[in-house]
Symmetry: C2
Subunit: 249 residues, 2 copies
């Protein structure tokens, strides 16, 4: 009963699926692509693809992300290019029946990205879109007519929940913002991800008072109207202490 007998093992396909989240028009949105072939032809699904034979899981996720969006992800585990997007492993889904054709184990990854000009799916313009996660999750799973393909509704739900909890105790919310942003813009990110309203005064005090969370970028902007707001960049801190508190309600 050796745990590793390389001669006899069942054949698996291993894929990566991506939950790519961004905040657009004050709503948390996910990237979905339209399937061009069965099963679930014409249905929306999470972007993803096979892991290559000589490729690490995180590398496969970063490659798929670049192919689908042009984004260059920053993997905290692999210091290198950082174009603002955050990438981390989410969970692995391996129900024997999750793909009707064969045994596919999918390692889902979570990507948090700033608002992008427009999605591009390998040149095919209208086969990819940003959709509010509320709509996607309300549409149900693959059993429902308009639901996401495969178990992608489950994966998306897990990714959204991860994002909602992680911005509480980490500085990850800044990954949804452009390089320079205002406190108000950061607050609208929290409000969109959590779906709540936050007190602007207390929020301002809290984020500017947490050491390492934000560093002043020097300028100001009035792009939100009203009094000019200071511009900030993400600071070096990754863990927030004390954490941001999500209102109960």
């Amino acid at each position: 009963m050796s745990p590793y007998d390389p001669s006899a093992f069942p054949p698996f396909a291993v894929t990566v699926d991506l939950v790519v989240l961004t905040v657009r028009r004050h709503a948390l949105c996910a990237l979905v692509v339209k399937r061009g072939e069965p099963p679930f032809q014409g249905r929306w699904a999470l972007p993803g693809g096979f892991v290559r034979g000589d490729e690490d899981l995180a590398a496969a996720a970063a490659r798929e992300l670049a192919e689908e969006t042009g984004l260059c992800a920053h993997d905290p585990g692999r210091p290198g290019v950082d174009n603002g997007a955050h990438l981390e492993q989410l969970a692995t889904y391996g129900d024997p029946k999750r793909d009707p054709r064969m045994r596919v184990v999918s390692v889902a990854h979570l990507v948090l990205a700033p608002d992008l000009p427009a999605p591009r799916a390998g040149g095919d313009a209208n086969s990819a879109r940003w959709a509010p996660v509320d709509e996607l999750l309300a549409a149900g799973d693959a059993e429902a007519p308009g639901g996401l393909a495969f178990d992608h509704a489950q994966i998306l739900g897990d990714g959204v929940e991860r994002a909602r909890s992680k911005i509480e105790y980490s500085s990850l919310a800044t990954a949804f913002c452009p390089t320079e942003f205002t406190v108000g813009e950061l607050r609208r990110v929290y409000e969109a991800v959590w779906g709540v309203a936050l007190d602007p005064r207390n929020f301002h005090r809290k984020v500017t008072g947490t050491p390492g969370f934000l560093v002043p970028a020097g300028g100001t902007t009035t792009r939100q109207g009203g009094r000019p707001a200071q511009l900030f960049r993400a600071g070096g801190a990754t863990l927030l202490n004390p954490p941001m508190l999500r209102p109960e309600v």
Copy 2:
């Protein structure tokens, strides 16, 4: 570029590895087994094995756990038997070089178990043991002479870190205790997992004051010496609000 072309995919082996943690003699310990064959013959490794062709990932982890320890795990996702042990997916490790023989993707799972009489490894008595995680992690990775095989030091470290953070905001620490336990025993679990000393008075107030964390079991015990202590069972609550606070230092 379909993300799912079942005709051409690289062949992967998929395994589950288990980080089984318990608290013994005031120390956080992990279950390790001695490898009987190359590579890393004679080295200690995490228990694990291949996922069968028709088996879910969680089912494979529960099966391996039962084979190695006789424990019947409770998977929150699959309501059923609950013998105290907690099982959850940890993370997936897929470096192309993590197994020198072939491409193996391992879905690691985390198990939190109460202190057990003795480990049993499929009848082979001295090929499995509980080892303090401090010793295992101090021994280094597979490059070091006494380190765990493969990337299991990394996996163990991730599992320990997960356990340390999860007992902050969930009631999972009770998974380390027998069915009935005292507040002092629960406190010693926190102290062992975090490696800190906690104020017994404040701890008592905190856990008994958090609704749903503990329910009185009725009796008392003096097995720790001193004044008899009330016995409790784990309550229904899974998330603690407010959380337990891990001292900084």
